[in-house]
Symmetry: C2
Subunit: 223 residues, 2 copies
Amino acid sequence: MWQLFQFPLCPFSRKVRLLLGEKGVGYELVRESPWARRDEFLDMNPAGQTPVMVDRAAGVTLIDSNAICEYFEETIEKSPMIPGSAADRAEVRRLVAWFDQILYREVVAPLLYERMEKRIVHRLPPDAKVLREAMKLANTHLDYIDYLIDYRRWMAGPLFSLADLAATAHLSVADYLGGIDWRGHEPTRLWYAGQKSRPSFRPLLSERMEVVSPPDHYDKPDF
Amino acid sequence: MWQLFQFPLCPFSRKVRLLLGEKGVGYELVRESPWARRDEFLDMNPAGQTPVMVDRAAGVTLIDSNAICEYFEETIEKSPMIPGSAADRAEVRRLVAWFDQILYREVVAPLLYERMEKRIVHRLPPDAKVLREAMKLANTHLDYIDYLIDYRRWMAGPLFSLADLAATAHLSVADYLGGIDWRGHEPTRLWYAGQKSRPSFRPLLSERMEVVSPPDHYDKPDF
Ligand SMILES: N[C@@H](CCC(=O)N[C@@H](CS)C(=O)NCC(=O)O)C(=O)O
Ligand SMILES: N[C@@H](CCC(=O)N[C@@H](CS)C(=O)NCC(=O)O)C(=O)O
């Protein structure tokens, strides 16, 4: 049985969980708070980051959300999440990198730090200026996502893919932390409403992170 | 003919060039300075980052160094750079992510900013404190690379892989910028001496970035 080391608001772990859900791979959740820098966890992953997946019986440890997604894409045929030609696959990977790196760095990471880590670890209030800047950038990035969705059936093209899962993972964490204003982003809002009703996403939507509560609309199909 | 948009000290472009060299794929270099934020480049890649690869005849644009490497790994059989079992491939991808994200953020990016971008764009001297911190972290990361190379034939295991290319790309940029003290890192130094004599790396080693000069030992096989 696979174990997945993560915490409820880790967007990279959410991306992996969505992929495992789509492919029907079973796993057990193990709670890990990377900011605690637990020795046994650092021994497992010297980078000290979630997600990590372990299959003790098989002696396999997988580290880094993309290495994990590519692993299951290669080993589980069901529901290909990097589908199409080599060029189509490159477009999926470009967008996943964009969500994981740019959307994460400019929007999700500051929200996580200000609204979760500062509260849990430092017992400090969030910095309103940093939050405002993150929400402003979220708005710009949602414009780009609107544009993608306007021209395509799904995020990366005609087929549902890991790019949709990565976007759902990051946007859902930003939304949980009150960082998304959906007004004026109708294409993305409609796409996200569809995501909310996917069986792979529903279990994640019902989870809560202690101390930090989401806004009312967070798990509503209509928002 | 593929065109590669890059500048000589972009580590992500170096990683791609090393892979193309190993696989024997021809390409033409196009000089691009992402800090100039040229309109035509932003139209091509909204993230505004190098590397980008374009094949105009085929109408294909590839963005993000990993999407590019996976594309050529899928389309060119020669010299597999993500070799082995699914678990072996996950280990290659874990290390590539580690070099591209952690080594880059903590060592290569601050060196590039202080020693190249500040000079070219802002005409300011580097901040000695930031340089010292980057070199201290480089030393810690070299300890980890020593440890990998002590236990393995190559960076990710028994086979030469993209992990070696990613490490070479980032370490060579850090070395060009005077950020690497090789003393006390014998395993990594020997591995890097081997890299320096690979035909895929030699053309890169002889290139220079205007205004910024490398230390004397930079392209010497013996250093
Ligand atoms: N490249 C990694 C990034 C993972 C990551 O940044 N995880 C965060 C939690 S959401 C973390 O562990 N941060 C703690 C740290 O970087 O020290 C992946 O895709 O898995
Ligand atoms: N994930 C990208 C990162 C590329 C990247 O960060 N490139 C740097 C140059 S070495 C850049 O273009 N920086 C300008 C910017 O981020 O605005 C990749 O792997 O290709």
